[in-house]
């Protein structure tokens, strides 16, 4: 599956952290999206990175952008992690690993959990990939500033009244 910039990300259909069936396009609801694939609650790198994302959520919430996290944790564990972090964005659960092989994002070095390899995408509202981040190495993950720049670039592209000249 082509998951490079310019390609259209698949419209994932997965249960959210409450177990309710959701679609990625429904969560986007016409807004840009930061889509984060995460190893899961157990990984200290994920915990650290998600804390940074939580610090950014206040801006996403007032700037008409969405943040979505996907992991193989079941909804109950995602709910606990989400509450512990103070996250208000949506987690999607691929506990059945239905999308993982299709996306080709298996973390092959972890044969115990078989989780997602940390990978992030900034998406246009129609799910076109703006930028991809390969986060196997922690420094490959998007920082808050990276995502601010992406959201600015996407918003400039999709909001017709972004520039008032």
């Amino acid at each position: 599956m082509d998951l490079q910039a310019g390609a259209r990300f698949p419209d994932l259909d997965l249960p959210d952290h409450t177990g309710r069936a959701r679609r990625l396009s429904e969560l986007a609801a016409g807004d840009p999206v930061a889509l984060l694939f995460s190893r899961g609650w157990f990984c200290p790198k994920e915990q650290r990175h998600l804390r940074e994302m939580c610090a950014l959520q206040d801006e996403f919430e007032v700037a008409y952008a969405r943040m979505v996290v996907v992991s193989v944790d079941p909804p109950g564990e995602q709910s606990a992690l989400r509450a512990g972090l103070g996250a208000r964005f949506t987690f999607l659960s691929d506990a059945e690993r239905r999308w993982l092989p299709q996306l080709g994002l298996l973390e092959e070095s972890d044969t115990l959990h078989q989780p997602y390899r940390p990978t992030a995408f900034s998406l246009l509202p129609d799910l076109e990939i703006h930028r991809r981040y390969d986060g196997f190495w922690y420094w490959g993950r998007p920082t808050a500033e990276d995502l601010r720049q992406d959201m600015r670039a996407i918003s400039r592209r999709v909001r017709e009244d972004f520039e008032r000249t």
Partner: protein, 145 residues
């Protein structure tokens, strides 16, 4: 638009104080009969709070953070109530079953009245934002698409 007389909700502006809401909540097609609506609003015409007041953003953060997740599949819909482009009249949370409405964060804006109603339909729970998209369009309604 809906109206609230302090005891009952009505579609349209026929009886009581009129509010704009997220129109998807009453546009169908999945109407829920006998739903429980926790109406955090008053029929008093003076009961209003500016949308830009920080507490209005904060109750919506709480709604996204834990109130809506706590309701899970029993949630039918949630909407704020708009009086005009700048004033908020409250909010309504609608569920299929009675829940712990005592925890409703919107009750921090206005006191709650629990009402049985047939006028609401199912709407997917919002994933954000915490502010209106357009002045006077009741959260979480509207879209830039």
């Amino acid at each position: 638009m809906i109206s609230f007389d302090g005891r009952a909700l009505h579609a349209g502006s026929a009886a009581g104080r009129a509010f704009d809401l997220d129109s998807r909540c009453i546009d169908g097609p999945d109407y829920v009969s006998g739903a429980y609506a926790n109406v955090c609003a008053l029929s008093d015409e003076d009961a209003a709070i500016p949308f830009d007041q920080t507490e209005v953003q904060q109750v919506r953060r709480d709604a996204l953070g834990w109130w809506i997740p706590m309701l899970g599949d029993t949630l039918v819909c949630v909407t704020m109530l708009a009086l005009d482009e700048s004033r908020c009249g409250g909010a309504i949370t609608v569920t299929r079953e009675p829940v712990d409405f005592g925890s409703d964060p919107f009750a921090r804006l206005f006191p709650a009245t629990l009402v049985r109603t047939d006028i609401f339909s199912c709407v997917a729970p919002p994933a954000g934002p915490v502010i209106e998209r357009y002045a006077g369009v009741a959260w979480p309604g509207g879209s830039f698409r």
